[in-house]
């Protein structure tokens, strides 16, 4: 779109708490420069108050549109009202906000994190078949909505199968180091891990840590113990190539692309996009040529 060249868009990003987030930021920049949009990114260092401040300052600078990757689902009403008063369209990226705000934003480009959990659960159920299966779960940060949703989706999926049971669940804070530490203790607590059949992690980073823990305990991840996690970051494909990981559910870092298209259409032709542009929650397994995916993802800034 020709007009997009003059657009200035403010993007209130959460921070840089994980590789996925870094990739989202860098993909957003790439997508914006592809479309010659001037993207101003304000990094909130994981704090909602900083995001609110950033949005206020975007309004003060009179940008053409605001992208918001909300750190938490609630608490946006008043600042988004201000944006609305200033007639600046807002697009949510990556996460939705609380329903009360529906009329306050133009559209939300997000995945459905409950669905992600379901995809993971369904895959596991299908793979295991009728065998009894003890699962350990590595949760994300306590209190993070993604963690709660991915847990919920997974639980719903396996609830349909009596043979699947989550025997232990503890937080690994979305990090590799904690994922490894927690997995170590799971292995000890479950008699050396012999009784375990699968690990579910709310993100790939924790799974990478957990895989190391299993290997050090003399277990064979991917074979003795199935793994399924979410995000599809490059390193999990590396593990798949090595046969140490089984499945991952993709959370695309390219949220900005669809968002930019929607804004451009809105500005050009006044096309109102649908309220929710859902991104794919695609499942990847060892059969999907993990090496190729790894190579294609490596450059994205994960």
């Amino acid at each position: 779109p020709a007009n997009a060249a003059e657009l200035t868009i403010g993007f209130s990003q959460i921070g840089s708490e994980s590789g996925w987030r870094a990739a989202e930021t860098s993909v957003s920049k790439q997508e914006a420069s592809k479309r010659k949009v001037n993207l101003k990114i304000a990094d909130a260092q994981q704090k909602q108050e900083n995001q609110i401040k950033a949005i206020r300052s975007f309004i003060a600078q009179n940008v053409d549109a605001i992208f918001l990757a909300p750190v938490v689902s609630t608490g946006w009403d008043s600042v988004l009202k201000e944006a609305k008063e200033a007639k600046i369209p807002v697009v949510l990226l990556d996460r939705d906000i609380d329903p009360s705000g529906k009329e306050l934003y133009l559209t939300a480009v997000t995945s459905d994190s409950v669905h992600e959990g379901e995809v993971a659960g369904d895959w596991l159920a299908k793979t295991v078949g009728g065998k009894a299966c003890n699962i350990v779960e590595l949760q994300g940060t306590v209190g993070a909505s993604v963690a709660a949703n991915r847990k919920k989706g997974f639980d719903t999926a396996i609830a349909k199968h009596a043979n699947l049971k989550v025997v232990r669940s503890q937080t690994g804070d979305f990090t590799r180091a904690k994922g490894k530490e927690v997995m170590e203790s799971f292995i000890k607590a479950e008699g050396g891990g012999k009784s375990l059949c699968a690990v579910y992690a709310h993100n790939d980073d924790m799974m990478v840590g957990a895989i190391q823990a299993m290997k050090e305990a003399g277990l064979k991840p991917g074979k003795d113990i199935l793994t399924v996690s979410i995000d599809a970051v490059p390193d999990i494909f590396k593990a798949m190539v090595a046969g140490e990981a089984n499945a991952t559910v993709e959370l695309t870092p390219n949220m900005a692309g669809p968002a930019l298209d929607a804004i451009a259409a809105f500005k050009d032709k006044g096309t109102v996009p649908p309220k929710w542009i859902q991104t794919d929650s695609k499942l990847f397994t060892a059969t999907d040529d993990p090496q190729k995916i790894y190579d294609s993802k490596k450059g994205l800034g994960y």
Partner: protein, 330 residues
């Protein structure tokens, strides 16, 4: 050092035993040990291994605190040194990697020491600067990604074993002995304690208090850098966003549990490390217990308070309150 242990360390040892006993209750196989690929394997080893970063941090922190200082930047320094080590690991020899990573820690320590000793800033703000900026520097090095490496030398530092002990544990032990030898084998310990106890008086007695302060921050930086390298080696990657996050608080906690006052003066290296082990024993216990993670912080709070009360010099104070209450009732 050894002479100090029995009398001063009693409360800590007691606390450790109690927590170990509780761990045994929540997890019956807690004391099981077996040899796995030439390496000891079991929850106790996990405690030692996972406790290593905080133990290393507390080795530096205890000296800083002994001079009445505090170092909030150790977590960020861990991230920096980890990032440096990971980015160099696959292209340089281990010696170069270690030199660069520890060198970075040394520079960070010098910076902190400069702000505190020369510019006279209050330690908590002086080190807050690096706490904030340091993580940024680490992320700058990794560009926010998790930088992975496969250099077997560096990986060995995190996952190898010496005589059945994990390498990190051996390193921490070595650092404890080295620090102990340097501090107690020279006059450093006395001079640091004097500086922390009364800087003005020490200065007048001819102690180079500035040099002392500078030295302890430098050492703290080096210890933090080493912890950072080990943390990176452990996960075979540098996670600048999360490495060492909030560990400064654990390190301070370890030092205080080890009986060193935040108002400076007397310190004990061994007990600080013991403090780190107490914290890790508790953490591992929480993980083994199988409680939902929402309870983690509550348990931690309660245990910390209990441990502090156990070793409070004022348990007699508590006795005093009781007798007072009795007296007023009578």
């Amino acid at each position: 050092m050894t002479a100090l242990l029995p009398r001063r360390g009693l409360a800590q040892i007691l606390a450790l035993i109690v927590i170990l006993a509780v761990d045994r209750v929540v997890s019956p196989q807690f004391f099981d040990l077996r040899l796995q690929d030439g390496r000891l394997f079991g929850s106790l080893i996990d405690v030692l291994n996972r406790g290593t970063p905080v133990a290393l941090l507390s080795l530096g922190m205890v000296l800083v605190i002994a001079t009445r200082g505090i170092d909030l930047s150790v977590g960020a320094v861990m991230a920096i040194s980890g990032a440096i080590a990971a980015s160099l690991a696959d292209t340089h020899s281990l010696a170069v990697v270690l030199a660069a990573a520890l060198g970075a820690g040394l520079i960070c320590g010098l910076w902190n020491g400069f702000l505190v000793a020369v510019l006279g800033m209050q330690p908590i703000v002086a080190t807050l600067i690096l706490m904030v900026a340091g993580r940024g520097i680490a992320q700058l090095i990794t560009e926010g990604r998790i930088v992975t490496f496969s250099s077997p030398d560096l990986v060995w530092l995190g996952n190898g074993s010496i005589l059945g002990l994990p390498v990190p544990v051996a390193i921490a032990l070595g650092m404890l002995i080295l620090t102990g030898a340097v501090v107690r084998g020279s006059a450093l310990g006395l001079l640091i304690e004097a500086t922390g106890g009364n800087a003005r008086a020490s200065e007048l007695a001819g102690v180079g208090t500035r040099a002392m302060i500078l030295a302890v921050y430098v050492w703290c930086g080096v210890c933090a850098a080493l912890a950072g390298v080990i943390a990176a080696a452990d996960i075979m990657g540098a996670d600048a966003n999360n490495a060492g996050l909030w560990l400064e608080l654990d390190a301070i906690l370890a030092v205080v549990i080890g009986g060193t006052s935040l108002f400076g003066g007397r310190f004990s290296l061994v007990l600080a490390v013991l403090g780190a082990l107490i914290i890790q024993t508790m953490n591992t216990g929480i993980l083994l217990s199988g409680y939902p993670p929402e309870f983690n912080l509550l348990v931690k709070a309660v245990v910390v308070l209990a441990v502090l009360l156990l070793q409070s010099p004022k348990l007699s104070g508590f006795a005093g309150v009781v007798t007072r209450l009795r007296r007023t009732k009578a």
